[in-house]
Symmetry: C2
């Protein structure tokens, strides 16, 4: 049975089991035993790959951040030339919002991590690092639109990018709480973009 094994691949599989639990029961409700059971392995095996629970949490957060960043970047790079900045921004926003069940699960995991990160310096650094990247990405598109005259020239790209990110975050929270539906969240984001894109 034992053989040479890809450590990172095993860790990723364990992290995905953790997400499945975190998206339904929350991060705190995920014990090592629960994660091991969800991953279909023994507690001993899990501990072979993660020396402590904290290690597992940090790895899973890094992994989720990496995947999210890759998804957004892929979408933007795949359509950076042809479509308008507005389309790119709207699609990015749509991908960040919990519009389908899969995206909802991902957002629940990130929210669970967010709360943990507020009280844990080690996690906070990882949780923060994605934001400037996303802001730069959004600001670039806004600058492009300003150059094309689609956005008023007196707007500050960085400010508008930050506002958009914060708005999406709030929309996500209230969508997760069922305060409004995914469709309403998207409509609200569109309303915001409508007013951003006025010469």
């Amino acid at each position: 049975m034992p053989k040479r094994v890809d450590h990172d691949e095993r860790r990723r599989r364990i992290a995905e089991a953790l997400w499945r639990i975190a998206s339904t029961r929350g991060l705190e409700g995920a014990s090592l035993r629960d994660v091991a059971a969800e991953a279909g392995i023994s507690l001993g095996q899990l501990q072979h790959y993660f020396r402590s629970k904290g290690d597992m949490l940090v790895f899973a957060l890094e992994h989720v951040n990496e995947l999210a960043a890759r998804r957004v970047r892929a979408r933007v790079e795949a359509s950076a030339t042809a479509p308008s900045p507005r389309v790119i921004l709207r699609e990015s926003v749509a991908e960040m919002l919990p519009l389908d069940d899969e995206s909802r699960s991902g957002n629940l995991v990130q929210v669970a991590y967010f709360l943990q990160a507020v009280h844990d310096e080690r996690l906070r650094e990882h949780a923060k690092e994605g934001v400037p990247l996303l802001r730069a990405l959004f600001a670039d598109q806004i600058r492009r639109a300003m150059a094309e005259g689609q956005i008023a020239p007196d707007r500050d790209p960085d400010t508008e990018a930050t506002l958009l990110i914060c708005l999406v975050d709030g929309l996500t929270s209230y969508t997760l709480l069922d305060v409004h539906s995914p469709a309403e969240a998207l409509a609200l984001a569109d309303a915001h973009l409508d007013r951003l894109f006025t010469p």
Copy 2:
């Protein structure tokens, strides 16, 4: 009858101890023993006032919501006639943002509850109920401003109110994460209001 005690007053005192813990360690880290110790009472006494942990959580959430609603309403009613709608909106937003340590604690408690509420139907109903009230309040001020010609007449008050609430929520999240400072959060909110208040 033996000596009579104000049950609700005791419960409120216990709830406040719970908040103090939740704002530093998070809600999950708050065991019944910890809360009792923080409140300066015995575990037995705490159990006398809350039959289960769930009861305590629900009561504390109702209490925090009630206090927050009362604070915002008091601020608005105290200055509904004289100041402009914009001032009222800005002050309400400023009060909701985690600008000082006390407000930061309150926001941490609400965030902790939010995450819990996503997975718990019982809490979710309580967490949701404050939003429509706040939206109506904001929408009223926006309507007033539109009547005075300070806001373009083609804006939808309910949409704008919801956007503002979501934005504040996102600003709060990222401020708690130290992604930006309280001052920057307020400046961002002002930037949004600047663009809302354009005839």
